[in-house]
Amino acid sequence: MNQLFDFILQPWPWYVAGPLIGLTVPTLLLIGNKSFGISSSLRHVCAACFPADIPFFKYDWKKEIWNLIFVLGVFFGGIIASNFLENPNDFVLSEATINDLKALGIKDFAGLMPADLFSVETLFSVKGLIFFVVGGFLVGFGTRYAGGCTSGHAIMGLSNLQVPSLIATCCFMVGGFTMTHLIMPIIFKLF
């Protein structure tokens, strides 16, 4: 039993986490005929809080409330995992990534997120504006324009063998590679 608990505290390998995430698809379908997708929660927040007479936000969001409850669960899951199931060891990152990021100016590699970026002080700087405000905006705008995110397209869409989802997933990756290799070095030179 103790051994099992020790295993749970370690970072979970991909072959445990991936299948568990994949199982979310049939779970949601079978417990309530729901297609898996997370970015729609952002749309429901708009529809519920600031519809502003925009046709795109005029629908019965209450019927889709399960999606908001689901993301509330993800938030609680984050609290539980970080407070009660915390990894007792140091965060392990590939040596090559550490070197690349050091070259960009990142110094702190202790946690899941670089403390140099994800701190309240950064928030009120140009860095914070780009990483949180611009980044977040692109995530919200892009996922809605694409009609889904990693869960709706890459996982649910590909599970259902949808070609448009494959196209969207490839574009997600191309966007990510472009940012990482071409744009990010420029952003880091700004400060």
């Binding site: 417990i31 795109f56 989802s165």
Partner: protein, 166 residues
């Protein structure tokens, strides 16, 4: 009443399309919704424990320096595909006895333009929408700003929708 009528009218003009629709015919009560809270909690725990919420892991992925994220997404897709195949093949019903609905997706230019924009944002924030919620739960309070900004991005898309190529 007038309001409801208005919503129905616009619904006719603009059919509600959403990638994660609720296809359940029977209305669900608050207690029915607890199921989704539990699945969400388990999902959030997996996100944190597999370090998918980590900005560093996303960088590793886009720098092709670790197999981890490819393994996670790849095996999730394989398990999802097999599950959907089995549900269709054996016509497995939901626990309420309904036939499972699947939604074929239509190709639109937005999947390319929007996909590229989301990809750019994914690499800087280190998060897709799901991990955003788990990051905030894990105590990275600054991510609340990212989330608000993502809501603003979604809202802006809604506002400009008809002016964008799609």
């Amino acid at each position: 009443m007038k309001n409801i009528q208005k919503i129905q009218d616009t619904a006719v003009v603009e059919p509600f399309v959403c990638e994660a629709p609720n296809d359940m015919k029977k209305a669900e009560s608050w207690t029915d919704n607890i199921k989704y809270l539990i699945v969400g909690i388990l999902f959030g725990i997996v996100f944190v424990k597999a370090e998918i919420i980590s900005w560093f892991r996303i960088q590793e992925m886009f720098r092709l320096q670790s197999f981890h994220m490819y393994g996670v997404i790849g095996s999730a897709v394989v398990v999802g595909m097999i599950s959907v195949f089995l549900i269709k093949k054996f016509n497995i019903k939901t626990i309420a006895g309904e036939t499972v609905d699947f939604h074929p997706k239509k190709f639109q230019k937005g999947q390319v333009y929007g996909g590229l924009l989301f990809g750019l944002g994914w690499a800087i924030t280190g998060a897709c929408p799901g991990p955003l919620f788990a990051q905030i739960g894990s105590g990275y309070v600054v991510v609340i700003v990212t989330l608000f900004s993502a809501v603003a991005g979604t809202w802006t898309y809604g506002l400009l929708k008809d002016k964008l190529p799609n």
